[in-house]
Amino acid sequence: MSFGNPVLRILLLLAFLAAWEAAVRLFAVPVFILPAPSGIAVALYRGVVSMVYVDNLWITLLETALGFALGIALAFALGTLVALSRRTEYYLYPFIVMFQSLPKVALAPLIVVWFGLGLTSKVVNAALIAFFPLMVNTIVGLRSADEDRVNLMRSLDASERQIFWMLRLPGALPFIMAGLEVAMIFALIGAIVAEFVGATAGLGMLIQTLNFSADVAGVFSILLILSVLGLLLNQIILLMRRRVLFWDPSVKTSATEDVGKGARL
């Protein structure tokens, strides 16, 4: 927090916007190439007032939330199964490797064909993309239980079920929370990509439409909304993480650490 002056930080941002505005006006850049910040603000205002942005934002948010919920439920269940049973891992391993090396967004066209232009295909695509980071982290996390701690539990005559609930699961939470953080953003990406491919509503569909009509200011205004949306979704997970992982070294350090970690993802 003591790296610099917060006022200077805002001034720098304003100076950047002013320079952008000035450059666009000075060199008379056409609006269909790069709109000025003022043009983007006007587009944003119109879109919000007419409720078009709000209605479509709601759709995208719903797709993202449902996809996230479905994806993490499956990821957690399958991850747990694989982590606890070497046999399950043995048989599922080829599938996991095959899917993991595949860029999941490439499946979006197929999914739209299979599940239609409505909500379902977006939820499925969001779930599919959110699934892998959490599943992998769940497996790694559940397997990371320290040998000494397992021995301690065994020496107390704990059952495997008790070892899971009292040791493996809480011990896996740092990994699981990190997986959720990625899954949240991935779910948003999955929903938007599926909307690009084919949709009747949503911010991704809106970007496509505006792009075709060369309304670049409109596209920029939606990018702005998506960036704020992503930020808010990420903050929800971070808040949750801080409460759940109060004991973890990653939470006990400062908040600036989190920003750095987010950037690396």
Binding site: R149, M153, S155, L156, D157, Q162, M166, L167, G171, L173
Partner: protein, 284 residues
């Protein structure tokens, strides 16, 4: 395991089959009895013998130290006593019943405190009660009393990461005692602590032991630590791990740190050290 002990009893031939009732005088029964215990790893063709022909008994309320250099198999022996590893031959029994797996009447303290960072000090201490579904309120009272016994009164709602290494190991000791086990197994519990803290912890452990009179098996590679704490020191030599000598320590209790400077203490240390003259790995 149980089959072999029944066979041994049958061999005594006291009664007709089905009426076998071994007569054991209660006072004389040791808490731990280890007979011809052996452990080897690896394949049948190329076995690595970790322990060979280990024989000893520990009486009720006795403090026994098992001393040896690293790699002599003393940690393996402790794992067998804790029921975490099976023996390859021979038998170890606790209060007359063979140790065939983890048992609820044993408390173990490991080299590191092994606390769960998501549990407060009190809840770490209550882990055995949670696992074994013992009465919560009663054990909370016991836990609080034990915590103040080791000087951690008022720390019950702190978390492990807020405590020093010595304090964490004290929490681990309290956790091993909370379910009132018949036997306390300690595997180099102070090995990771600084020398000064280690001496303090030795004093502390002696005080707890004098107050509670638990039966303790304490594993260490420090000769002075073994002599300071124990009633008897079992000296182990490596490859294969065997008990070379059993040294009775007759020093009066409570022992102060000054007791380490007495000629009697020095003589015991010298006698034990003679076993390791050719090898390293033991703190002198």
């Amino acid at each position: 395991m149980s089959g072999s002990s029944a066979g041994a009893m049958g061999g005594i031939g006291l009664a007709t089959a089905g009426e076998v009732r071994p007569v054991r005088p209660v006072a004389a029964q040791p808490v731990i009895a280890v007979r011809r215990l052996g452990k080897s790893y690896g394949t049948a063709r190329a076995p690595v013998v970790a322990l060979e022909d280990i024989d000893f008994a520990v009486a009720e309320g006795e403090f026994v130290a098992i001393l040896g250099p690293s790699g002599c198999g003393k940690s393996t022996l402790l794992k067998i006593l804790a029921g975490l590893l099976p023996a390859t031959s021979g038998e170890a029994s606790l209060r007359g019943t063979p140790i065939a797996g983890p048992r609820r009447d044993i408390g173990v303290v490991f080299q590191s405190p092994v606390l769960f960072p998501w549990r407060s000090v009190l809840h770490n201490v209550l882990l055995p009660a949670d696992v074994q579904r013992l009465d919560r309120a009663e054990h909370e009272r016991i836990a609080l009393a034990l915590l103040s016994l080791v000087g951690l009164g008022g720390f019950e709602h702190r978390y492990p990461w807020e405590l020093s290494g010595g304090m964490q190991q004290r929490v681990a000791i309290v956790r091993a005692l909370v379910h009132d086990p018949a036997l306390l197994l300690m595997d180099e519990p102070f090995g990771a602590l600084a020398a000064m803290t280690r001496e303090q912890m030795n004093l502390e452990l002696q005080r707890i032991w004098l107050e509670r009179r638990k039966t303790v098996v304490f594993i260490t590679h420090s000769i002075p630590e073994a002599v300071f704490l124990a009633d008897r020191v079992l000296v182990m030599t490596p490859r294969p791990g065997r008990i070379a000598e059993t040294v009775a320590v007759g020093l009066p209790r409570p022992r102060s740190l000054d007791a380490m400077n007495t000629p009697e203490f020095g003589e015991l240390v010298r006698r034990i050290r003679a076993h390791f003259s050719a090898q390293g790995g033991v703190d002198l």
